[in-house]
């Protein structure tokens, strides 16, 4: 059941219709059951793992809070973190490490037999284990009291709008919302929730899915395409992943808002960033801030020598890359971002946290430069292997338009149109009032924008829904 499917629309309509007739406790129980149904729809067998991670996080946090000494608290924290890392490591990285070890032994001239278990990757595992780790860390840091109600905590772990691809919530933010009775959203808030859902659908169904085949074509067989088709393909992927993931996040926020629960904003127009540091302040914010709080800071953050700070930046981004999946391409992608961040820090470019200032005309060269760098690094992220990525870059320098360029003019027009759409949406979003998107527009203009969304969805729907990219992480 994915957000861009009719099944989800029906599921959510039923949830919403029942939800607001229930008292607060009933709402939580109902949301918990709905979340398990939502997750079980993918594969009910994986519910067991979710329940196990939930129970272990719940009980270890109780132990952290109840531990009599600092050492005992620390032990329970390590236990909590270890359980999640073992679960994540086994299901996500087991094959990767066995495969890499085998390659190393091969290089050393040893031909050892390879027995790799075919481990299923449980959908959303990276997200809910990170929820659990942040909960244990926040309990340890006494930022929050451990949750006493198991159903409320289980809902925190499995809340369906966030379960599959985030945003990665924090216990200190989401748990109080779940604990306390919720107000029915005002007309304006409900309207903004619907706008977010429609906007998210447009980003996914129209923008991301329109450029996805162009990216797939370029990355699938780069040989003989030439510079223009390959660069078009790389930009297509940059647009695809943004439309896909921010579209998902918008739908998650919109559905959640209709349930009276406000969740983190995950994107702040990242492609308007003037440097890589700003990019990471505005891209997948819930992950980058998670890495900042639970990895970068424990490593020492910037309260250490310059060199150690650069190392911390590099390590944080390297592991952030690995979080995306068990592949060297993600490691290289993260590592290169880490190097870029370290260089920017060394050259004195510091970006304050929070919503960045609106772009000005004089920022255009820096924005274009950052977009070019980020897009080039997406090539590693999207390629199946490092060799494929290098082959992609090599293909750019063979010819301007190669013999296997395909319908590159049409692709160029499509990608340009979608880039323009992203810029238009992000500029409109930049000027938003927090809960009242587009509210400054006249109602007729708002209606016209909704009409345009309907037209675009009519044209770009009609095929089986494609899953969101971040489901695989």
């Amino acid at each position: 059941m994915i957000f861009n499917s009719l099944q989800f629309a029906l599921f959510f309509a039923v949830v919403l219709a029942v939800y607001w007739f229930l008292p607060h406790r009933g709402q939580n129980w109902f949301l918990l059951v709905a979340s398990y149904v939502f997750y079980g729809y993918w594969d009910y067998r994986l519910l067991g793992l979710l329940v196990f991670v939930t129970l272990s996080a719940f009980f270890t946090a109780q132990q952290i809070a109840a531990a009599p000494t600092a050492t005992a608290r620390k032990r329970w924290l390590w236990a909590a973190v270890a359980v999640n890392l073992v679960v994540l490591g086994f299901f996500k990285y087991f094959g990767f490490f066995v495969d890499s070890a085998h390659r190393i032994t091969e290089l050393a001239g040893l031909d050892l037999p390879r027995q790799v278990l075919d481990v299923v990757l449980p959908i959303g595992i990276s997200f809910y284990t990170f929820h659990a780790i942040s909960y244990a860390m926040d309990t340890f840091r006494e930022r929050i009291e451990p949750e006493r109600s198991l159903p409320t905590f289980a809902l925190f772990m499995s809340y369906f709008p966030l379960l599959l691809a985030g945003p990665i919530e924090r216990a200190w933010h989401l748990l109080p919302e779940l604990r306390n009775p919720r107000k029915r959203p005002s007309a304006q808030s409900a309207y903004s929730g619907v706008v977010l859902i429609v906007l998210g659908l447009v980003k996914k169904v129209v923008i991301a899915d329109a450029v996805a085949p162009i990216a797939a074509q370029a990355f699938g067989s780069p040989d003989g395409r030439g510079a223009i088709p390959l660069i078009t393909g790389a930009v297509a992927f940059a647009i695809q992943i943004y439309g896909d993931f921010s579209g998902y996040s918008d739908i998650a926020r919109g559905t959640s808002r209709l349930l009276g629960i406000e969740v983190f904003r995950n994107f702040e127009q990242p492609y308007f960033s003037r440097n890589v540091t700003q990019f990471w302040r505005t891209w997948h914010i819930s992950l980058s801030s998670w890495l900042h709080d639970y990895l970068y800071i424990p490593l020492g953050g910037n309260k250490v020598s310059d060199l150690v700070t650069y190392r911390n930046l590099f390590l944080t981004m390297l592991l952030g890359g690995l979080w995306h999946g068990a592949s060297w391409t993600f490691v290289v992608w993260g590592g290169l971002h880490g190097i870029a961040l370290a260089i920017e820090r060394a050259t004195g470019r510091y970006e304050a946290r929070g919503r960045p200032a609106s772009p000005r005309w004089r920022d255009v060269p820096a924005i274009l430069g950052t977009f070019t760098l980020v897009t080039a690094l997406w090539v590693f992220f999207r390629s199946a292997s490092i060799a494929d990525a290098l082959n992609f870059f090599g293909g750019i320098f063979t010819s301007v338009v190669g013999p296997r360029a395909g319908a590159w003019k049409g692709n160029l027009v499509t990608v340009a149109a979608m880039v323009a759409a992203v810029i238009a949406i992000d500029l409109a979003d930049r000027n938003r009032a927090r809960l009242q998107p587009l509210v400054r527009w006249s109602p007729m203009l708002q209606g016209a924008a909704a009409g345009a969304a309907v037209v675009l969805l009519l044209v770009w729907s009609g095929k089986p829904p494609t899953p969101f990219i971040y489901f695989q992480f």
Binding site: L6, A187, A210, K409, G410, V413, T414, A417, S442, P443, M444, L445, Q446, G447, A448, A449, A450, G451, A452, V454, V455, L458, V459, W460, S461, G462, K463, P464
Partner: protein, 359 residues
């Protein structure tokens, strides 16, 4: 009290005004866009709602037959093996019927034949009989099969409520009907400039869709063998889904009182040997298929080894003369099981008669 009633009515009126303006904006954009597409539609080729141009041709042909009130005496279904190997005129000659139609589609494995036959062919041609030519490739669920996905994604054949909703939408809204063209603005602009609603392809009578095989040699032959081994027969496994599609179709045809014969299509020894476990695997599939068909009460004609290897220039399809001879043989076998009684015939429209369908 009175004040609050007044202010509430003011709020209600303001909201109503807001909603009216919002809806006016929304409808204006949607209706303008749909109107523009409706106007432009006259300069575009007819809508192509099928997964494959051949399926579209067959449907056009079946529509003409249906409009002329023609009911099929028998239809031939299956994959390209039947599309190329089944010659309606040869069968008509043997059986003495006037309306045998070859509606086989390339790549139509059993999960495709089921909806194609039951939802597209039977309602249009109302066949009294079905000849279903099968081979091991049609049952291979061990490899990814894009044809099934394409068939289920095409608007005309998309199953379920979503498919029905989309067809309903497309019949009323030009924006939805023309979405494929609208997604490619450059091609659309070109089509609109060129003006005439040139069909993307000239519709051909059914059995002319796939020409008879020419002799394949050298590099092409190697490529054909490689494609067969590495793609069509790769990881060969007659999976439950494919077998169920086969048997449930046969049962549904029985329930509709449509007499059905399953024909094990002829293949060369090289084809049989190309299965991952060789000829033994092919024979196991053959026995399983015959048993499964018989369990549904369907007659089976096993013609798998009736043609010499030399008649298969690409390991799969028969040459033109071999197709003619094999169809005659099939006709004789069908006559042998009592399929030769004469039936009243209706006039066929030009271009769709069995004469033109014989290829």
């Amino acid at each position: 009290m009175g004040g609050s009633t007044v202010s509430r009515s003011v709020v209600t009126r303001a909201r109503a005004r807001w909603l009216a303006a919002f809806l006016a904006g929304l409808l204006a954009v949607v209706l303008l866009a749909d109107g523009a597409v409706t106007l432009a539609e006259k300069r575009l080729a007819p809508v192509d709602d099928y997964y494959d141009v051949r399926a579209l041709d067959v449907v056009h042909d079946m529509n003409r037959l249906e409009a002329a009130g023609v009911h099929s005496d028998a239809v031939l279904v299956g994959t390209s093996q039947m599309a190329r190997g089944g010659v309606p005129r040869a069968l008509e000659k043997q059986l003495g019927w006037a309306h045998i139609h070859n509606v086989a589609l390339p790549g139509a494995s059993t999960p495709v034949v089921k909806p194609w036959l039951l939802d597209q062919v039977v309602p249009r041609l109302h066949p009294e009989r079905v000849v279903w030519g099968v081979s091991s490739i049609d049952f291979n669920g061990g490899r990814p099969n894009p044809v099934i996905k394409n068939y289920d994604s095409a608007r005309a054949t998309r199953p379920g409520i979503l498919g029905s909703a989309d067809r309903l939408l497309a019949s009323n809204v030009a924006l939805a009907r023309r979405r494929v063209e609208l997604r490619e603005p450059i091609q659309l602009a070109h089509d609109l400039r060129s003006g005439a609603p040139a069909a993307k392809h000239a519709a051909k009578p059914m059995s002319k869709l796939l020409g008879p095989m020419r002799t394949t040699k050298g590099r092409h032959l190697k490529r054909a063998a490689s494609y067969l081994q590495n793609s069509q027969l790769a990881d060969f496994k007659a999976t439950p889904r494919y077998v169920h599609a086969f048997t449930s179709t046969l049962r549904e045809l029985h329930a509709k009182h449509i007499e059905t014969v399953v024909v094990i299509m002829p293949v060369p020894s090289t084809f049989r040997a190309m299965h991952p476990h060789g000829d033994a695997q092919y024979q196991a599939w053959r026995r399983m298929t015959i048993a499964a068909a018989r369990r549904t009460g369907t007659k089976v004609l096993d013609l798998n080894a009736t043609e010499p290897d030399i008649d298969f220039p690409d390991y799969v399809h028969l040459t033109r003369p071999a197709a003619q001879a094999w169809s005659t043989l099939l006709g004789q076998d069908l006559r042998g099981i009592g399929w030769a009684r004469a039936t009243p015939t209706a006039a066929a429209p030009p271009g769709t008669s069995s004469a033109s369908a014989s290829g």
